[in-house]
Assembly symmetry: C2
Homo-oligomer: 411 residues x 2
């Protein structure tokens, strides 16, 4: 299958045509005007790489708005865990699909997920047309190497699914588990998705238990690695940043969730300066309560300006890169930019949408002004998964998910 | 004209019908089922009061994205002021109308504006169907009492326009001007729209020049008053809060703009606790770059949670009130809630929009999840100004405004 996009405004500000062949961008402004099987006239539209949401618990969208404005411990213990205990595989399938609807509508083509029932998540990814890292969620209690190995094999059988191991965090695992997970990840060449240094309490508890800060502890047990993707990293200090940089471990900042749960503001500017591959995520919808990456990109930039008392900190272009090219790098994908040979994961933006008028600077409008509704068409892996704001299967999933959500919270 | 809305989900979580007569909500669940001239079946929709955007420079939307990521002084002097010097009355008319499109689409029915060419702003308000406070922007240089008086008279002739005097800030006015403005406002019974304590520099300069902090200075010259609406108030201390509370002066927090220009986070929780009528605004689009009040309400709540290291701070319901009932109180309007006898300024929300699914808690979804695209229909002053996401006159205005914006920044 080939798709030929004409007259699209590029992030550079120039107009171009784009030829997509299979799942790749074959050519920008091809000399021979080979039209594709599908021709899209993008007049009045701009093209941007699909966004990466690098930390999600997608199916938690079922609990969106169910318990807000609580302190973290009460939130988890009295509200989230009791409902999660009732989750069945079917719920996770429809919850993940519901999240995919929100992500596609807001220009996201790839997400990095961690939740229960990983096979159902993978099935939802396949159905949605999106790309995703799907990890097997693990704790010290639940981890069994043979099972984890089997899960990785199963996940690798799904289309557009990148398998990963998901040990939850230092406070829900132990040294033995983490070392074994690391060994298995190396053996199978899969990613590790982890929560690191999200709260001050995590750091304090780690200092008490191990006499060192979380990233130091992980370095000492040999857990740090280029395949390790660390969500949050709100409380890293300079020494820990150096350790992460040296091992080429990755960082995902989740600014909205970190504010909502009163965790803090990550030292993003310093993390980037330390040479760490840095990206962005929303976290699950229960602690955000949105999967809108435009909001996350904007907030990431704004919070660094605030934190450094410097309006020039984390400017638009750099913030945009966190959610595109940097994330692709973290996943070792040739993606995240509109370039020949890159994965055809991209979106068309309606330039007549109110957030794009006037259009003095496309990147600035995308970062500081855009709303999901400006996204007109989404292509992932060379296939159109949303056209003119319509995802074919969405109404049915919304109805089913609404019913499932109601059942979950009823006694 | 009467409008009868059936089957609408209320913020309370119950379904109701609403009878609108003239510009007021005549009855909730009227006993006689008098149908209106227009009947709206709101099945699958919720109703909420229209949002108030309490600090705007609406026409600055023409400069959205033109100059981002600059330090405040450079931003103003080298980028904003030179372009503003070229503004003509026609530009302000179309710029304001463009801003009205964005505000209506995101559920705002009333805004509090301060910019040049106030008559053109009032003309745009009239055309848009929205309600607005339109102030005459004033500085020590530009203020002439007779002119200001004439402007108030003219503004009071426009529909749905509340006239106000807009002395810019302490650093662009002087004691004589402020005292005269206050006297005139009392004489004519009009509001005063002011910038107060936006930056640390403003406070430091005031301390240097007057030996006291901005609100103390204003109290001492007798400027504080119940008709005074103070935008920003990022750097108020407790003593200043007491002074504002005692005089019943109002506060408008603009959290997004305050982050973007690296001004700081307003002590909103303390301001509210001091008993001050507190509301929210976006500020102009050049320093935000959005007029989306959903974003502002969410950010206001999230920043207080962060600032107080307390996930329970400024919960959803209270944050929502800042942008509705509190704002109506600040303007002395019987509005900002769906109640009998209140102004018929309200919105219908599409409950099938992805941000509203699932719907465990409507207020929580509105505050933490909603995107403008969930707004389906907007009624202001008893008239439908947007129906099924369509504002009749918007395409023409977008085209004209885009052209004007391009002309403005071209040399």
């Amino acid at each position: 299958m080939t798709i030929f996009i004409e007259n699209a405004l590029m992030p550079s500000g120039k107009k171009a045509s784009i030829l997509i062949e299979g799942n790749k961008i074959e050519a920008i402004n091809p000399k021979e005007k080979d039209k594709g099987d599908v021709v899209i006239d993008a007049k009045g539209k701009a093209v941007m790489p699909g966004l990466f949401n690098m930390h999600t618990h997608a199916a938690m969208i079922l609990l969106k708005g169910y318990a807000d404005d609580y302190e973290l411990h009460e939130w988890l213990t009295n509200h989230i865990f009791p409902v999660e205990a009732k989750l069945r595989s079917r719920d996770v399938y429809y919850g993940t699909l519901l999240a995919c609807i929100e992500m596609i509508h807001s220009g996201t083509t790839c997400f990095n997920d961690m939740y229960f029932f990983e096979e159902e998540i993978a099935r939802a990814v396949e159905k949605s047309g999106m790309r995703a890292v799907v990890s097997k969620a693990l704790s010290a209690q639940s981890y069994k190497r043979a099972e984890a190995k089997k899960a990785m094999k199963k996940l690798s059988g799904f289309e557009r699914v990148i398998p990963a191991l998901g040990p939850h965090a230092i406070y829900t695992t132990d040294e033995e588990t983490l070392c074994d997970v690391k060994e298995l990840a190396s053996e199978l060449n899969v990613l590790i998705h982890f929560h690191l240094s999200e709260t001050k309490k995590e750091v304090e508890d780690c200092l008490k238990e191990h006499g060192k800060r979380p990233a130091e502890y992980l370095a000492d047990i040999g857990f740090l690695d280029s395949k390790l993707i660390n969500a949050h990293c709100v409380w890293l200090n300079r020494k820990e940043m150096k350790l992460l940089a040296r091992s080429d471990a990755k960082v995902v900042s989740c600014p909205t969730s970190n504010l909502k749960l009163a965790s803090g503001i990550a030292p993003l500017k310093e993390i980037i300066k330390a040479g760490i591959t840095t990206t962005l995520g929303t976290d699950g919808s229960a602690s955000n309560n949105s999967l809108n990456m435009f909001e996350t990109i904007k907030l990431a930039s704004l919070l660094q300006k605030y934190k450094h008392f410097d309006a020039t900190a984390l400017p638009a272009k750099q913030a945009f890169e966190l959610a595109t090219i940097n994330a692709a790098k973290a996943l070792n994908l040739k993606a995240g930019a509109i370039k020949e040979g890159f994965l055809a994961d991209l979106c068309l933006i309606n330039l007549k949408h109110i957030t794009m008028v006037p259009n003095h600077n496309l990147i600035s409008n995308i970062v500081f002004s855009a709303e999901p509704a400006c996204i007109d068409t989404v292509i992932c892996d060379g296939k159109i998964i949303m056209e003119n704001r319509v995802i074919e299967w969405e109404e049915d999933v919304k109805e089913k998910a609404q019913r499932i959500a109601e059942e979950l919270v009823s006694a």
